[in-house]
Symmetry: C2
């Protein structure tokens, strides 16, 4: 290239540098190119708040680092060359050894009869939700959800233009009477829901564990009204006594249940490894639309090695520590909120679902507390009818350290009193009015 | 649970087992629940064909297994606890160290001035395509693409209901005259394309490398007609002499270029690690819709450690080996197809883009050859106007072993002759008619 042209290009570069860094975004209106109706742009990440009770984060001390390193060594040494291939030599369903583990595990714990073609590894169970929704749902469709349920599932349905109707919950999960009444009512209006989305084992957020008897009732109704069931079992490993009811998938007479699970809660959320389990008809249809080049291979390889040897031992220890943290949070809630905080003591999982008095707006509380470094999930974002969650909140006990739990709950009760006048008693001491 | 109820449940289970495994799928018409217009369900995976010339798979021998293991050890020991958090303590943009590496690398090689807030780690560059399309495009929009381009990009646009118009290519990439003519023509019809999608550095599939002079012309036209540019640089590391032109992103006066890259081709495709680079306005908007809980953390941690120490050395060796394989494939094509196969010898990358005589329908050839264990990419799936690719094919030389390349090309020429009568000469020997 001639020196004149080179100088010209460099002058342009200098101009570009100054324009872009000190005025570049002013010379093009990038906003005008965005689609309408996108969410508000994200703020810059400034780290996690001091008292972080939101999301499904896990316990740091229980990440099995040494074992994961050993598994990384073994699996990369054995299969590292397969990284050169999309599908790392296992094909589109994901790592074959990991799928074998899942089959064995779900047979032993959940009574599910599977072969590896019934299992598809996904990038977290979030992708499982997206894929299942993609093959069954279109804008204007209707699904049934539990009255209180996973907020991320609701936001996905909303984004897709799918309507959802909440079914009442009891201590034993979904209320079959309300389920049947709702189906009769919808069918009369010519509305035929595609599926019922349920988290029957350690329900998110209520924490209930649906009995096998109840599961059979729900299945009977699903069959009678010809709806599918989408069973989300992400927390099912985290029951304190490690005994799980058999899955809806295994209790079902036919193949109307589509099932998903995850390693986020049993091992670590940042791995992004989940799975769909279903009939081959459903799996093969999902694969036809899963055009992401596969999910991350190294996590799959590591988990395949780790789980086959260490899964049960690891989870047994994890649930012990989770229960201990749960007990701490329960104790703190009782001490700081007294009778104003109503909740069931979980038999597993990582959350407590709390009902506060009607005078407390938990959405407002969440905004106030966030400014003071305490994040909580307001109930209105975890229910199908927002009015049903106005006084509720979900708190995660898995990730915070013990002192964070105790101090955070105490500070939260103080903020709650300051704003809403409850709880009047904290730590057995009456607050000054 | 009473023994009567237990027996009843078990009888139901036995019935369910037999129904599901020997007749279950017959008792529910799952097809009736699927959305219409889904692709045909996938077939079961039966492994890779013997002569596998499709896709962007990489060279097995160049996967740096020992170094990846060392990096896994170091990064997990140092940061393994962060796996307990969604975002593994780096937040939604992805691993901070990896983003730092990308900033430094792209500054040195592509002249891009960045900070870590301009970089978002994605699950492969495929997710980058999906995210960028999601914020800018809606059904009925129009984009410009290179006349021959990445087939996966075209299928995504089609699926989204977005129209695309192909711009002619030359030995120096996009033809600026045709670009400008097309924009004038579309604007007259009140069509205002959102962006131009381009792969300027080792173009897929043609292999060209757009000069900086040409880049400035393209940028001038983009600014004149106010379109964005989506620059896909996935192959840019794989130039034989490792010298890259400066990116459109860096040559641009303003922030109209959105850029994506990947570690699939420089390290390994199964890792699923790519990145978007853009102004903070664009990055923050993408983050607002990236609701997947983050991309796989272990791959990011490993790459952050590996790349900071070993990236250049690794890629220098990789391109040497890729060039050697390229030379083998070039030699085989010349020997087996002679003058009937027209192609430019690549200066980088992993593909050769071949034009055969008009009598050869490469789509038909791909079907015939697949039955004989030879997979090729037919040109009609790699061009915006399918008629422009009827006699073309794309072959990947990176993954197959040397004998697979030579034997595969030989067999392909034999099949081609049997079906289409060309090439008449193979290996300097005239074929029997």
């Amino acid at each position: 290239m001639g020196s004149k042209k080179y100088t010209l290009i460099n002058l342009k570069l200098i101009l570009a540098f100054f324009t872009k860094n000190f005025g570049g975004s002013m010379s093009i209106d990038i906003e005008s190119f965005f689609n309408k109706d996108l969410p508000v742009s994200s703020a810059k990440y400034t780290g996690l708040p001091k008292y972080h009770f939101i999301g499904g984060n896990n316990s740091k001390d229980n990440i099995p680092i040494n074992e994961l390193i050993e598994s990384a060594n073994r699996s990369l040494r054995k299969n590292g060359k397969n990284l050169a291939l999309y599908g790392h030599n296992s094909g589109p369903l994901g790592n074959l050894s990991l799928r074998s583990f899942i089959c064995t595990y779900l047979k032993n714990y959940a009574g599910m009869e599977l072969n590896t073609d019934n299992v598809l590894i996904t990038s977290g169970s979030l992708q499982a939700l997206d894929l299942v929704n993609s093959i069954f749902l279109k804008p204007g469709d209707t699904v049934l959800v539990e009255e209180a349920t996973y907020g991320g599932a609701l936001s996905r349905l909303k984004k897709q233009g799918v309507d959802y109707v909440g079914i009442n919950l009891t201590d034993d999960g979904i209320c079959p009477v309300h389920l049947e009444e709702t189906l009769i009512d919808l069918n009369k209006k010519n509305i035929f829901p595609k599926f019922l989305y349920t988290i029957p084992t350690v329900q998110n957020p209520t924490g209930t564990i649906m009995s096998e008897k109840r599961r059979l009732e729900i299945l009977r109704i699903a069959e009678k009204y010809n709806i599918l069931i989408f069973e989300d079992d992400c927390y099912a490993d985290l029951i304190w006594d490690r005994s799980r009811p058999r899955a809806l998938y295994s209790l079902c007479d036919d193949s109307r249940v589509v099932y998903c699970g995850s390693f986020s809660k049993s091992i670590a959320p940042a791995l992004r490894v989940g799975y769909v389990v279903a009939s081959w008809e459903v799996i093969s249809k999902i694969v036809s639309i899963k055009n992401d080049g596969g999910s991350g291979a190294i996590e799959q390889m590591i988990l395949a090695d780790f789980c086959s040897k260490k899964f049960d031992g690891h989870v047994n220890k994890l649930v012990k520590d989770l229960k201990a943290k749960c007990d701490i949070m329960v104790g703190s809630l009782e001490k700081e909120f007294g009778s104003t905080a109503e909740f069931s003591v979980p038999k597993g999982g990582i959350f407590i679902w709390i009902t506060l008095p009607n005078s407390v707006d938990t959405k407002k509380l969440s905004i106030i507390s966030a400014k003071k470094g305490i994040t909580i999930n307001p109930g209105s974002e975890w229910v199908s009818n927002p009015n049903n969650g106005t006084h509720k909140m979900r708190l995660c006990f898995a990730n915070p350290e013990i002192d964070v739990i105790t101090n955070g709950i105490k500070k939260l009760s103080t903020l709650c009193y300051a704003e809403f006048g409850v709880p009047e008693i904290s730590g057995n001491v009456e607050r000054n009015s």
